[in-house]
Symmetry: C2
Subunit: 688 residues, 2 copies
């Protein structure tokens, strides 16, 4: 599946632009759509009206995915696996919505999400000149870094005051451009429909990131505004026939992060330092959670979502790891860098700008590599511990002028931050304890017993003792306790005896020191070097390309199309026949079982109905839940994954084999009507 992994965001500090993109490659910003390519390849040029309509119909979910409005009354379509976190938070031992699914036939039955925030991109403004002016005459890199952060905060804060909208300054083309994006924000988001996890995530971890697939990975929310269903004209009409073979399609969503313009030295860091450690990290944590789940069905229910998320990341990182060990891929990346380097040398203006940038980045990377172990393993892996640190930092930061605060605590971010800090989502202390113990055990093994973080957390205890005392002693499970600390400010936090807050006070300086080191030695060097490379790219290639992904709205395009696979061809679509084949082929075992609804409902289904399909659209984690639309901007599918070949997509795109995997629009209607008895919802989606 293609949920945006939070881990992806930690990497990709430096973002550069590619040279000219090959056909169907690219995650284009809405201010610079690939109109010439589209006109040439498909004889189609989207109008401004088309682009505005699609943009305003597209949403970002703060759980890490994408979605779209699909009715005039605020229906929001996304993936089940994007909604899963909310389903988990709403579930209890008595009502397991992940296992059983959910359907609200009437508005009164719709179920309010615990802490889901939805963003819709309203405006995009190029603020590159203002950012560059702010750092123009500062020669010291650390000071320049701070000045850049200050001007970001200033622009965001001004915009927030002026518009009342969520306002983010984002870096595109590796700092070649800076943009101010404003978003309408919705936090009253109610669940209307979700299938059973078994059918949404059919095939489980084995089938994840593969195709052919048979998943109904959908969920439907309704967005409310002032207590009423959102009334909007910007929604995607449901296509009558859905995606057809060879058809031009668009994907409008929020790809999380790519590293296609990373320098070779940055890729080496990924390959030889970060990836192996992350894979180890996933392994340990998954094993701990599986051991916890093995205790019983209720325990299993509590951690299912976390395990799926970790397994998803593990499989994605395994794919990245293999891609980076693929000699052809590495040779291709090296050639790209060599070509760019040569063009820069041949262009005096570009050479003056960026000639020294590669060496600067190489130097920073060499310094950085030994520190990655700390970044990876200095973790408590506990929601309570994260909340504690956030509270400790929050009460200090908000007292500073906005521009002086550390990342995450600027004015423009505070509302969303408080929404998360005060989330009433249930926290299972036994889960917390198991995760924390495993995490501390691994930290001790990887970093040694003398590591400052390790000695601070353990304080002479075993990892199990420490986890037991910390989790057992804290009151932060109660949102009211957190609210009291936030309201009480620095004084309340300083005098708190809650063991998790006590620990967070000790960890805060360690965390700040790591952040400072990273800013001074890596970011202060690589951000300006990246800006220089970005400008040099514009000089030698022009602005004919798309920027690396940044979890901001992008438009991809492509063709509905099968591909060569396993010595034969993968078809452009699958059908419900294939779902029943796979279930029977595995004798209904494990991830290949069918729910009772599908066993009983088979005779109702038209099994020839398309279920999933693939297209050449260029996507990455974060695109989960993106609508697939035709050139009339009608919804023909719902992106939920990429195929196994697309796992190299962080670094390269291949139109030959990379595929976006989507639920077919016809499958959603067929299942709603025939299996779930949700004809009312189907009618609303189809505008009947």
């Amino acid at each position: 599946m293609f949920l945006r992994s939070k881990w992806l965001l930690i990497s990709g500090i430096l973002i550069t632009i590619s040279s000219v993109a090959p056909a169907e490659e690219g995650m284009w910003t809405f201010d610079n759509p690939p109109t010439q390519l589209l006109q040439k390849q498909y004889n189609f040029t989207p109008t401004k009206q088309w682009l505005d309509h699609v943009r305003l119909s597209s949403v970002r979910l703060n759980d890490g995915g994408s979605g779209s409005f699909v009715s005039p009354n605020g229906l929001l379509l996304t993936n089940h696996h994007v909604a899963r976190g909310q389903l988990q938070k709403a579930s209890t031992p008595e009502h397991d919505y992940i296992r059983d699914g959910f359907y609200a036939e009437s508005p009164s039955q719709e179920m309010k999400s615990t802490d889901l925030e939805v963003n819709v991109l309203q405006t995009m403004e190029n603020v590159t000149d203002r950012v560059q002016a702010a750092i123009k005459n500062i020669s010291d890199q650390k000071q320049a870094y701070e000045a850049r952060q200050r001007v970001f905060a200033q622009i965001e804060s001004e915009s927030l005051k002026k518009t009342g909208l969520r306002s983010d300054v984002i870096s595109l083309y590796q700092g070649g451009e800076y943009w101010l994006y404003t978003y309408k924000k919705y936090t009253d988001v109610r669940l209307v429909f979700a299938p059973e996890q078994q059918m949404a995530f059919y095939g489980g971890d084995p089938d994840n990131f593969t195709y052919p697939r048979y998943d109904l990975d959908m969920a439907v929310f309704r967005v409310y505004d002032n207590g009423k269903p959102l009334n909007t004209t910007d929604y995607l009409k449901w296509s009558t026939n859905g995606a057809a073979d060879g058809e031009l399609i668009f994907i409008s969503g929020h790809p999380g992060s790519t590293a296609r313009q990373d320098t070779m030295s940055q890729l080496v860091t990924e390959r030889d330092y970060r990836e192996p450690q992350y894979l180890q990290f996933f392994k340990v944590r998954i094993a701990a959670l599986q051991a916890y789940a093995a205790q019983g069905s209720e325990q299993s229910r509590q951690v299912q979502s976390i395990i799926f998320g970790l397994q998803n990341s593990q499989k994605a990182y395994q794919g990245r790891f293999e891609a980076l060990h693929d000699k052809d891929l590495v040779a291709k990346k090296q050639k790209e860098e060599d070509d760019f380097h040569r063009l820069v040398k041949a262009n005096p203006a570009a050479e003056a700008e960026a000639g020294g940038a590669w060496a600067a980045i190489d130097g920073a990377e060499v310094k950085y590599r030994p520190m990655i172990k700390q970044q990876t393993f200095r973790r408590t892996d506990s929601t309570l511990s994260s909340l504690a640190i956030t509270i400790v930092q929050y009460v200090t930061e908000i007292k500073k002028p906005d521009g002086d605060r550390i990342a995450g605590y600027h004015d423009a971010e505070l509302e969303s931050l408080r929404f998360r800090m005060l989330s009433p989502a249930p926290i299972y202390t036994a889960v917390e304890e198991a995760r924390m113990a495993a995490s501390l055990t691994e930290a001790q093994a990887q970093l040694g017993p003398q590591d400052e973080f390790v000695t601070t957390v353990l304080a002479g205890r075993t990892p199990q003792q420490a986890a037991h005392e910390l989790i057992g002693g804290t009151k932060l499970t109660d949102p009211k306790q957190r609210e009291a600390l936030i309201k009480g400010g620095e004084e309340a936090v300083a005098s708190s005896t809650d063991p998790m807050i006590v620990l967070a006070r000790k960890l805060d300086p360690i965390s700040r020191s790591m952040t400072n080191w990273y800013q001074e030695n890596v970011q202060s060097v690589e951000i300006p070097a990246g800006e220089k490379l970005g400008k040099a790219r514009f000089l030698v290639y022009g602005k004919s390309a798309y920027p690396d992904a940044t979890f901001t709205l992008r438009l991809s395009y492509g063709t509905v199309k099968g591909y060569p696979m396993n010595g034969t061809k993968a078809p452009y679509k699958t059908t419900f026949y294939g779902l029943y084949d796979r279930a029977n082929s595995f004798d209904f075992a494990g991830p290949f079982a069918l729910t009772k609804r599908y066993i009983d409902g088979q005779s109702q289904l038209n099994l020839a109905t398309p279920l999933d399909f693939v297209s050449t659209g260029d996507i990455i984690g974060g695109n989960s839940g993106s609508p697939v639309i035709n050139k009339d901007a009608e919804l023909v599918g719902l992106v939920f994954d990429g195929n196994i070949e697309s796992l190299a997509g962080d670094f390269v795109y291949s139109g030959e084999r990379n595929r976006a995997v989507a639920v077919h629009s016809a499958a959603m209607i067929e299942a709603l009507r025939k299996v779930y008895g949700a004809s009312k919802l189907a009618d609303e989606l189809q505008g009947k």
Copy 2:
């Protein structure tokens, strides 16, 4: 699919034994079954009675495949693609049995095969001592080669006279052992049932050699003896349930050729010389036949079988080619050779025997490599031309003492040879002309216009002219003409003005000279070197292994089991649901179409019935049509292919991913009863 390619036989001159085989690897002779491995892994030891029964129930088809008796009244089960040659020969523009299938409800409707010979292995006798005695004191390699051929012919001829059975001396363990095999021979073989080619070969060339598959690749003949259905107790009973997940199974069949014990220098010859030229050969011929087929449906009907055969070989060779370019595989083979070499050096007896064998083979290979181009491209690619050469050589050879004849013309081979020479199978002259013209064009391009073969065939004409005049002028399409020449002997052949015979007289010395060169420079060196390596292997490893495949009867064993594929799992079986999924997924296009019977008959079928399944049994081309049996020797499936990973099987076996693909016994019964209205046949198969 796993039809034995004739091309495979050209290679594999040298056969050695492996060291100890890993679990489930091996194509074992019936005199040396892997009883210890079976007992240890499966707690099962086949009795002598079990082995005899299975052996006598297994058949070899001279069209290049395997089969088994499946009723007391001579029913013979094999693959559609093994029977396809006979279906093609029986078809006319009015009755296209390949397209439409065939079913004889009553014995009178059963259709006699044109030229199908079936062999059943009766006895196996170790004649190593006698062969070794015959060459013991001969130091000249050429003389030793000839003496070896003479003693082979002598043993075969004696056995034929004594038993009346087809008698073949075969080389196992690379000449470490020689065996006399005798076969009962049947030539009255009548077709009872064949499905439509579209369903037998569902998925066509794309799906060939892949899995998951949805093929009903079956055909049923009835063997007649003295004009009556063969009455036998040695047939395989039909299993009630068929293959189940994790079950122990056996495959009894005739693997054609493997090169697992080839030396590294022989593998280099394969990789760098033979494979690239063969791939070129297949490309050219397939293109010529496709151009011919494009002329119309009748033309397409005529060449369909040849195209399928060539595409099958092309895909198999492409897999071999890729395997030989796989660095891990090559490293593994190198290590095997290094280990063996080291053990030989450490063992004085083995070192005395075989110390010089590698160098001898290396020397022969280096000499051989430049000649492969001639062997590959000096071809007329015409049935009529092959018949002409065979007739010209036949009339000369049979006048010599048996021991002095060239290969293929010994007494023991003559009956089968005449059966083929006089086959009434239709020969389409337009097809012949197209194939010959393409072949000669390529010969000219590859070998140059001055090549002796090229100048002899073309004689100043263009390839098109030569093909047109030769094919247009010959009368050999008529079996009576061939019979007259054979009866007329050397005189009739010498005075014939048939242009194909005239040409064959000129090509005969060229062919003999190539054969002589090959015998003197390659076989005379590599056969004794192989014998030495074979003996050395027995000395250092003991006789704990199986010999390379030689298109003689072998027993493989393994487990019904899925495998890791495409980032996920391939299931152990597929179902009819999957057939309908694949058809719908491709919108019924090309090789993924369904016949009317299956569209109309869907509602009759239980779609959950297993269709195909995989097991870890070790097979290779030639195993097509082999029965898959359980430990009670009941038929649970019908081998028809290997998966794409198994294409490296010529060189190595991997239990992790190599899989034999078979039709499930339940699918055959379900289709016969529900789709083909062939319940009478199903009843006979099930012993009802």
